[in-house]
């Protein structure tokens, strides 16, 4: 109890600082989420339409995905230096994998019968993609997006180790000066942001499913 009071006191005392860290954290994550979302979506669509490209693209994305985040950041420093840009690049590389995989799986999962019907009725390839495949894959794509958003928000904490901003700064500082309340305070806010984002996207996912009547 004593500990929680300490954390709350900390929030009150340094609310401007925390507000700034939250804003930085969200900005950092959001940029990476948008970049990974767009790149992952386009790449996923492309490999779904060019079956031969799927194994290498998914393989490479998978390799990046399994590199521990701290070492990916380390490897990027010689190339990009330290700071926010490097952090955004690393987070984007991570985020691409779940987006590509789910976009690909979602599109490939659309029933052949439905696609044949659409093609037989005179749809162009573009119309099949935008009117049939993507809307039908949307549930799976959003599940991937949810996954990616939560992951990006939590991995963004590590970005402060290479001099980027965000709530990781509070965690890092807490560790260095052995201030557990400060570390907890930062972690808790990250968890909270991730949780709220997940709830919002989950709500969106549910609404899409309900709209379909199934």
């Amino acid at each position: 109890m004593e500990f929680f009071k300490e954390v709350i006191d900390l929030y009150v005392e340094r609310k401007d600082w925390f507000a700034q860290l939250i804003a930085e954290h969200i900005a950092l994550s959001l940029i990476a989420i948008v970049l990974a979302g767009v790149i992952g979506l386009l790449l996923g669509i492309w490999i779904a339409e060019h079956e031969k490209a799927a194994p290498p693209v998914l393989g490479i994305a998978n390799v990046f995905y399994t590199i521990p985040s701290i070492s990916l950041l380390g490897m990027l420093i010689p190339l990009l230096g330290i700071g926010n840009t490097t952090a955004v690049v690393a987070l984007t590389i991570y985020g691409i994998m779940p987006m590509v995989r789910n976009t690909y799986a979602g599109i490939r999962g659309v029933s052949e019968d439905v696609i044949t019907a659409a093609r037989g009725m005179g749809s162009t390839d573009f119309q099949i993609m935008t009117r049939i495949k993507l809307p039908l894959a949307l549930g799976v794509i959003i599940a991937g997006l949810r996954n990616m958003v939560v992951m990006t928000i939590s991995v963004a904490a590590i970005a402060s180790f290479i001099g980027a901003g965000g709530l990781g700064v509070a965690i890092y500082r807490g560790i260095t000066i052995y201030d557990t309340a400060l570390t907890f305070g930062g972690s808790f806010l990250i968890a909270l942001i991730a949780l709220i984002s997940d709830l919002l996207l989950g709500h969106m996912e549910k609404r899409i499913k309900r709209r379909r009547g199934n």
């Binding site: 439905v114 019907a117 037989g120 009725m121 039908l136 379909r212 009547g213």
Partner: protein, 243 residues
């Protein structure tokens, strides 16, 4: 005039010959039923007509035009295409399903499309309040009716149907058979109808096409097929018919 004409169509998939020098004509306003074992090439033949498959050699003519020389997308929009009930778009309401072809053809006037959907849902014997439902909320028979309404929305002169009633129970199936026969009489459309049910083929077809191994075994009126089967397989098929 011949509405549909196939000339010496050859098509192989992976070294296996699916259609073997197939030639046939369908007259305007004719109801042609096609029957044969699974893998006999009947679906491949149907997909030749709307260009979903291209022949290795041979030509397909629709209303006298070689389809390899015309805009295939435009042609498909003028040909109704009905497949088993899985073919409806699950993420679209019945209305959106029915007006799909007009919409992708650029006819986006909401009021006009709504009127079209209302007219067609009535044509296939469903209630107007079905328009706002999703396919998953309909019974198999209702889904099939929507599939037909959707095919009619293109003002199609030709309708291609690939085992449209295959998944329906016997009673619904018979009702749908009456329905499609009546529609054909009323609208004068040309229909190519694939089935694996010989009774259905004999009941609906002006002519019946019996296929095996990518070839025509017999193409004739139901009476002729019954009284003069041209091949042991045809005889066996007709013989299995429950009187």
């Amino acid at each position: 005039m011949d509405m549909i004409k196939l000339e010496h169509i050859v098509k192989s998939f992976g070294g296996r010959r699916i259609l073997d020098d197939l030639s046939l004509s369908v007259r305007e306003g004719e109801f042609l039923t096609v029957i044969g074992r699974s893998g006999c090439g009947k679906t491949t033949m149907l997909k030749m007509i709307n260009g979903l498959h291209q022949p290795d050699s041979g030509k397909v003519f629709i209303e006298g035009q070689d389809i390899s020389e015309i805009d295939i997308i435009g042609l498909r929009r003028r040909i109704g295409y009905v497949i088993q009930n899985k073919g409806l778009f699950p993420h679209m309401t019945v209305e959106k399903n029915i007006t799909y072809v007009p919409v992708i053809s650029g006819r986006k006037d909401k009021e006009e499309n709504r009127r079209l959907a209302r007219r067609l849902i009535e044509t296939v014997g469903l209630e107007e309040d079905m328009l706002n439902r999703y396919p998953s909320e309909l019974s198999g028979g209702q889904q099939q009716r929507v599939g037909i309404a959707r095919a009619l929305a293109a003002d199609a002169r030709i309708m291609l149907m690939d085992e449209p009633f295959g998944a329906l129970d016997e009673i619904t199936k018979q009702a749908m058979q009456e329905e499609i026969a009546a529609l054909k009489r009323k609208l004068g459309i040309t229909i190519v109808f694939i089935t694996h049910d010989i009774r259905e083929a004999m009941k609906l077809g002006d002519r019946v096409l019996v296929m095996d191994q990518g070839r025509i075994l017999q193409l004739d009126t139901p009476q002729e097929i019954r009284s003069n089967p041209a091949h042991p397989f045809v005889k066996q098929l007709v013989g299995s018919r429950v009187e």
